[in-house]
């Protein structure tokens, strides 16, 4: 939901003939360019990524603090399927970048590369569900140890964020298929940023849960 609204440009609210308020016009020459201060949607997205980052920093500090006390467990190792899922998600970052470049360079195939991104994202979610089910079948339960709890909690939250991104993906895909994006421009930039962020977040969580 949030992601969708972030996409809407607020500039039309500025009224027909009124030029959009400059990025701090009079700031001493800093404005006027194409920086983040000229694009509310981009700034809004980055602020949103900042809050998500703080959310996971909060969990990280809890993780580190909790690891020091009893009942941690820690014998959980990454199931092989988790590596496959990781590759799927990383591949989806490549495909979204492919779609983005094709749009920017006026090349065909944007919708196909986007479709691949969504498919890989869905496969990742399905893979995560499969990982949880196989672990539960092996008797690795949520409340059995704190490490298990953090594993299910953090992977679950990541999937929730990814499902949110997939809702945004549906909007982006519909727009791409109806040719709403202007070729030569970076219309997919915001979505790609969010998607890459979730890929990076996953790699971070993987490292936190199993390496550090």
């Amino acid at each position: 939901m949030t992601a969708r609204t972030l996409e809407q440009s607020p500039v039309h609210h500025q009224g027909a003939d009124v030029p959009p308020a400059g990025p701090g016009a009079g700031d001493g020459g800093s404005g006027g360019g194409g920086g983040i201060l000229a694009d509310p949607a981009r700034l809004g997205l980055w602020l949103f990524l900042g809050t998500i980052t703080m959310l996971f920093i909060g969990f990280t500090s809890a993780y580190i603090a909790r690891r020091a006390s009893a009942g941690w467990g820690g014998e959980l190792t990454p199931p092989p399927l988790l590596w496959v899922n990781t590759l799927l998600l990383l591949a989806s970052s490549v495909t979204v970048e492919g779609a983005r470049r094709r749009l920017r360079r006026w090349q065909p195939g944007v919708a196909a590369w986007l479709g691949a991104t969504g498919a890989l994202g869905l496969l990742f979610v399905a893979g995560q569900v499969a990982v949880w089910r196989s672990l539960v079948a092996r008797g690795v339960l949520l409340a059995a140890s704190a490490h298990n709890s953090f594993f299910y909690l953090l992977t679950g939250l990541h999937v929730v964020h990814l499902l949110g991104a997939l809702v945004w993906f549906l909007v982006v895909l519909a727009k791409a298929r109806r040719l709403r994006y202007t070729p030569g421009q970076d219309g997919l930039g915001l979505f790609a940023t969010f998607w890459h962020f979730l890929g990076g977040l996953w790699v971070y969580l993987f490292l936190l849960l199993f390496v550090f």
Partner: protein
């Protein structure tokens, strides 16, 4: 060109009542919605405070009559009504929760922030109007969930507004730990989601949508406050979200984030069937760290808008440029930054390392420096000025008074030594009611009187406003100043009958004095509500700029139309504090007047 723009705007303005006033995307309507909702929540939370005070003054009296109004709160068996202790715990929990989050974060930030940001930065609306409307309609369900929690079977949450585990983590700990606590968490999640959406809007609007000529250092200090508050909210609230998610897992899925192994419920240890502890290694302190990582920035989320309003109001009515504008900005940035590294001063008694405690204490005392800068600047602004004693000005000076008296006790509490004596006593309650609650509340009242024209196009009644101010000011001190003494004497917070302890019995007369003061304080707020509604419909028409102030919001109609300016958005040529410039023809030069105006042409 201008008229064309105006027509385009009017064409965009929704006509149907439901889109214009209910599901509006207009920042002014959303601001008023937030404000009115918060003030109604304040009525509820204020009523809870009255019950708390009555109980503390006369716990031995017969409350059969109150038991008829609040059947869940009083035992009336045998013809003699006494308050249930768990009801008292619910009262202070919900009073704190509602006041901190749903009133004093909401009215100044979401209320006046939404109302003022586009008007003061010269924008047609917020950066993301739909998100803005959505944020209010996320906030309202939060309010409703919190209010509904009073009516569930075991009552509302009763673990304190800080919801420390194990009271909040074990469903059977106290009656309110069941459904009530669940609803507390749901309400908070709604609130935080709405505050985050607002924060994204605030920062983006202030950074991206400023009108031509309005550099960051020409912003009114209210805008700087809103900008910092939004950043604090965006960075601090996620910690509480993380904590709440873990709390839900502890409560419903048997995890051990916050629940230790050695824990008993009603004197029965919590064990599995095999006899091993049900929980292992959880730490209640972990919750406290996460909570206060939000909790301390949160008190500045309450305070900073009030400091911004005060600066703007003070400058207008002393007809003086604000003294030390850049130092004011830096002071607010400093307060905002320090607020992130001092959360441990809420936890001095938790057994932290003395070295860590020392670091938290030093950081906390450092906050006195930017705070003192602000007070110094305000006093220098007032010094030898010709003050216009309007209602907003009285409230602004009230904020300064409370900021000083509350800040001084803060320096005591910042140090681990005194704090260990004073922790969880009425001294702490006195301190934060003066500085955090009081200053924020007075700021809201001042801002209401000052910007009322931009809400409803009319002025609030000055006589009623002044009567309301003096009653509130005197009884506010009457309520919270004596609390310092009983706190030093050892009167603890959150106790429903202090006189079960012999050494607290002599304090009862002071508690009676406090309660009488508090009841008058509560009753005087009726004046405000009467003034508010009467003035909204029948008050004197305000005109564009009733206070002869300089900000951009005073260059448009009262109330401003959809799109804020009927014609083009004004350009800015100076800061908003150009008062009593000897070279200017008038005693004030507005932000949009070109350079010639100041030179006396």
């Amino acid at each position: 060109m201008a008229t064309h723009a105006a027509h385009a705007e009017h064409a965009h303005a929704p006509q149907a009542f439901i889109w214009k006033y209910v599901f509006s995307k207009d920042h002014k309507v959303i601001g008023i919605q937030y404000y009115v909702t918060a003030m109604l929540m304040a009525l509820v939370a204020g009523l809870l405070a009255m019950l708390i005070r009555v109980q503390l003054a006369w716990p031995e009296k017969d409350y059969t009559w109150l038991g008829k109004i609040f059947p869940m709160g009083y035992d009336v068996g045998g013809g003699f009504g006494v308050m249930r202790p768990e009801f008292y715990a619910m009262l202070f929990t919900m009073h704190g929760t509602i006041m901190v989050f749903f009133v004093l974060s909401t009215a100044p930030v979401s209320g006046f922030g939404n109302l003022l940001i586009p008007l003061q930065v010269g924008a047609r609306d917020m950066a993301f109007p739909f998100l803005n409307g959505l944020s209010y309609w996320t906030f309202l369900p939060g309010c409703l969930v919190i209010l509904a929690s009073f009516f569930v079977e075991s009552g509302a949450a009763a673990g304190g507004w800080t919801s420390y585990p194990p009271l909040s983590a074990l469903k059977g700990a106290v009656p309110g730990s069941g459904t009530g606590q669940t609803m507390w968490i749901i309400g908070m999640v709604f609130f935080i989601a709405s505050f985050t959406m607002g924060g994204l809007n605030f920062v983006t609007t202030i950074l991206n949508l400023r009108t031509k000529g309005l550099s960051m250092f020409r912003l009114p200090l209210t805008m700087w406050a809103m900008f910092l508050v939004a950043i604090l909210g965006l960075l601090a609230f996620p910690a509480l979200v993380a904590a709440c998610i873990m709390l839900v897992f502890d409560r419903h899925y048997g995890t051990s984030f916050f629940i230790p192994a050695q824990i008993a419920l009603n004197n029965v240890p919590l064990l599995t069937q095999a006899g091993t502890p049900l929980h292992q290694g959880g730490s209640p302190l972990l919750w406290q760290h996460l909570f206060w990582f939000l909790g301390h920035p949160e008190v500045y989320i309450l305070m900073l808008p009030a400091l911004g309003f005060t600066s703007d109001i003070l400058s207008t009515f002393s007809r003086r440029p604000i003294f030390g504008y850049k130092s004011m900005v830096l002071a607010m940035c400093g307060i905002g930054f320090l607020s992130f590294i001092v959360w441990g001063h809420h936890m001095f008694v938790s057994g932290m390392s003395p070295y860590l405690g020392m670091a938290f204490a030093v950081g906390t005392i450092l906050i006195a420096v930017p705070s003192a800068v602000k007070v110094f600047n305000w006093l220098a602004t007032l010094y030898r000025s010709r003050i216009r004693f309007t209602t907003p000005m009285l409230w602004a000076m009230g904020v300064i008074s409370l900021f000083i008296s509350g800040g001084l006790s803060g320096v005591w509490l910042a140090q681990a030594g005194p704090d260990i004596h004073l922790h969880d006593t009425m001294f702490v309650a006195a301190h934060f009611h003066l500085i955090m609650a009081g200053a924020a509340l007075f700021g809201v009242f001042g801002a209401t009187a000052y910007w009322f024209p931009k809400m409803f196009g009319r002025l609030m009644s000055e006589p009623l406003g002044k009567v309301h101010f003096w009653f509130t000011f005197i009884t506010y001190y009457g309520t919270f100043f004596p609390m310092h003494y009983i706190g030093i004497a050892g009167h603890m917070r959150r106790i429903y009958d202090p006189y079960q302890y012999e050494f607290l019995k002599p304090l009862q007369p002071i508690n009676e004095l406090i309660t009488m003061s508090a009841l008058i304080l509560g009753a005087s707020q009726i004046i405000f509500f009467v003034n508010f509604f009467w003035s909204a419909f029948k008050g004197k028409k305000a005109g564009e700029n009733p206070w002869e102030a300089n900000g951009l919001e005073w260059t448009t109609q009262s109330p401003p139309p959809h799109g804020n300016w009927p014609g083009e958005i004004p350009e800015v040529h100076r800061w908003p504090y150009e008062y009593s410039n000897p070279d200017a023809p008038r005693d004030h030069v507005m932000q949009h007047e070109p350079a010639g105006a100041a030179a006396g042409h």
